[in-house]
Amino acid sequence: MIRLRHKLRKENFALDVDVEVPDTGITGIFGESGSGKTTLLRCIAGLEQGDGLPVHKRNVGYVFQEPGLFPHLSVRGNIEYGARRARTHRVESVPVVEMLGIGNLLDRKPDSLSGGEAQRVAIAAALLRSPDLVLMDEPLASLDRKRKDELLPYFDRLHDELSVPVVYVSHDIEEISRLCDHLVLLEGGKVAASGNLFDVVSRVDMPVLSGRNAGVVLWATPMDHEDGLTRFDFGDGNIWVPGTFEKRGNPLRLRIAASDVSIARDRPTSSTILNILRATIDEVHAVNTATALVRLGVGNQSLLAQVTNRSVSRLELRPGDQVFAQIKSVTVRH
C-alpha cells in the first residue's frame, strides 16, 4: 500500500487527505471540479509549496492535462530527458515506445504532432523516468472525443502491461470505470470514500456518484453470439449486448449506468427491453427530493437503479423485496 498524506491551505480551499492506495494497478481520483483532485496530485509530486523533498528527488512520473513537450527537443530528446536523469532503469525504452506506438515519431518535433500523439510521448517520457509512482492529471481532458477514443486503447494496454502503480485523476466516471481498479472519492478537499472500484461505485450514499455519475461496473464474459448480439455471463445472470464481442474466455468490464436501469414489481412480458433480471433490493437512498438510488443484488453482483421517490413509494420498494431490474443499455470496455 502507498500512503497519501497531504495537507494544504489555500485562500478559500483546504486539502486534508490521508488515505492508503494499492501499490499496483490504477487508482482513480474522482470528484467534482474544485474538490482538490489536481491539488492532491501536485502535492504528491511536490509541485505545491510547503512540503519537504524537492520535486526532482521524489521519483514520480507526472502526466499533465496538456502534454507540454519541450519544443526545442525532438520526440526522442523528450522521452530521453527523464530516462537520462533516472536513478534506476527498471523501465525499458523499446517496449514503452512500442506499447505507445510512437516508434515512427522519434525524429519529429513536438509542434508537428497531434494532441493524442503528443500525450503518448509525454506518457512515454514519464514512464522512462522509471518512477515509483505515475501521476496522471486528466490526460485525456484536452482531447476531443475522436482523439480520446484513439488514445484510450493505449491506456488499456498501460493498465494491462505496466507494473508501476498509477494515480489517475479524472472527472469522467466512464474513463474511471474503464481504467481504474481502486477509487478514491474527493469532496471539498477530503476523502469521502476509498476502496475497490466495484465496491465504491455501487454505493448509493455518495453525492458525487449521483445523476449521470451513478452506475456500477461488473466483470462479465462474452459467451454466445445471436442476432448481432453478444451474451455476457456474470455470476448467476447474463446480459445481451448489441455488437459482436470476441469469445476469448476472459471477462470484460461492463458499465451499467443507474439511469439505464428501471425496476418492475412483476416480470414485464411485452417490453422492448431485452435484459430483465430477477433482483433483490439491498438499499434505497433518496438522493434529493425527486430521485432515489436503489441498489439491487443480482446473484453476487450489484446493480444501481435511478428511480423517482414517487415510484419508490408507489411500488412500496423496501430492502429485501424481490423485483425485476430492466437494463436499457450497457457500455463495454473493448
Binding site: 526532482h56 512520473g61 507526472y62 499533465f64 519541450f70 530527458y81 536523469r85
Partner: protein, 221 residues
C-alpha cells in the same frame, strides 16, 4: 590620427561589459521573473534606474563611489594598488551598471513568457532547478539572451556621459570612440569626426540587423 584605436578600445569595453553582464544579469533576470517577493518592484526600479537617470548623474555618483576615497574605489586600491577611476577597469565597472537594464530586461521578458508547465515537467522528470534552467529555460529563451547581449553591447559602445565622468580621456586607456569624436568636434577636426561617426553608424546598423535576423530565425523555430 588613428581612428581604429578608440574604436578597438570601445569594442573591448563593450565585450567585457557584455560578458560580465551575461553572468550577473542572468540570475537577476531569472530571480525577477520567478519571484513574488515584495522586494521585486524595488529591485526592478534599481535595475531600470540607468535608463531614466542622466548619464552625468550616474557618472557623478560612480566617480565618487569608484574614486580612491569611495566605498568601492578605496577597497580596490587596497586590493590592487591602483585606482579604479580614470582606468579601463573602472570603465568596465561603470559600464556594467550603466548597461545593466539593457541586459536584464530582455532576458527577464523572455523568462516571464516561458510557460511554467515546461519547468514543472522538467522537475518531475528528475531535473533539479539548475538543470532545468540550463536544459529547458535557457534554450527556450535564446531570443532574450540575444537581445540582451546585442543591446548591452551596442549601448556600451555608444556610452559617452558616464565614460567622460569616470574615465576621462586617456588614449589607449579610457579614450573610447564617443570621447574621441567629441574631442575631434571640439578641435574642429570635422573630417576625423566624420570618419569615426560613420564607422559607428555602420557598425550599429550591422549589429542591429544581425540581431533582428537572428531573432526572426529563432522565432520561426
Amino acid at each position: 590620427m588613428n581612428i581604429f584605436g578608440p574604436m578597438w578600445l570601445s569594442i573591448q569595453l563593450a565585450f567585457f561589459t557584455t560578458a560580465i553582464l551575461l553572468v550577473i544579469g542572468t540570475p537577476i533576470a531569472w530571480w525577477l521573473s520567478q519571484t513574488r517577493a515584495r522586494l521585486k518592484p524595488a529591485v526592478q526600479a534599481i535595475v531600470a534606474m540607468p535608463i531614466v537617470l542622466p548619464p552625468t548623474v550616474l557618472g557623478f555618483y560612480l566617480l565618487i563611489l569608484l574614486g580612491p576615497d569611495g566605498a568601492i574605489g578605496s577597497w580596490w586600491v587596497q586590493l590592487t594598488g591602483s585606482a579604479l577611476t580614470f582606468s579601463f577597469t573602472g570603465l568596465v565597472v561603470a559600464s556594467c551598471i550603466y548597461s545593466l537594464p539593457f541586459a536584464v530586461q530582455p532576458m527577464q521578458n523572455a523568462f516571464e513568457s516561458l510557460p511554467r508547465k515546461y519547468l514543472e515537467r522538467a522537475w518531475t522528470l528528475g531535473a533539479s532547478r539548475l538543470d532545468a534552467f540550463f536544459t529547458i529555460a535557457a534554450p527556450l529563451s535564446l531570443r532574450g539572451f540575444i537581445s540582451g547581449i546585442v543591446l548591452s553591447f551596442a549601448h556600451t559602445l555608444g556610452e559617452f556621459g558616464v565614460v567622460l565622468m569616470v574615465g576621462g580621456n586617456i588614449p589607449g586607456e579610457t579614450r573610447v570612440i564617443s570621447i574621441a569624436i567629441y574631442d575631434h568636434v571640439e578641435s574642429l577636426n570635422y573630417a576625423a569626426a566624420h570618419r569615426m561617426s560613420l564607422l559607428l553608424v555602420g557598425f550599429a546598423f550591422v549589429v542591429l540587423v544581425t540581431m533582428f535576423v537572428l531573432n526572426r530565425r529563432w522565432g520561426e523555430r
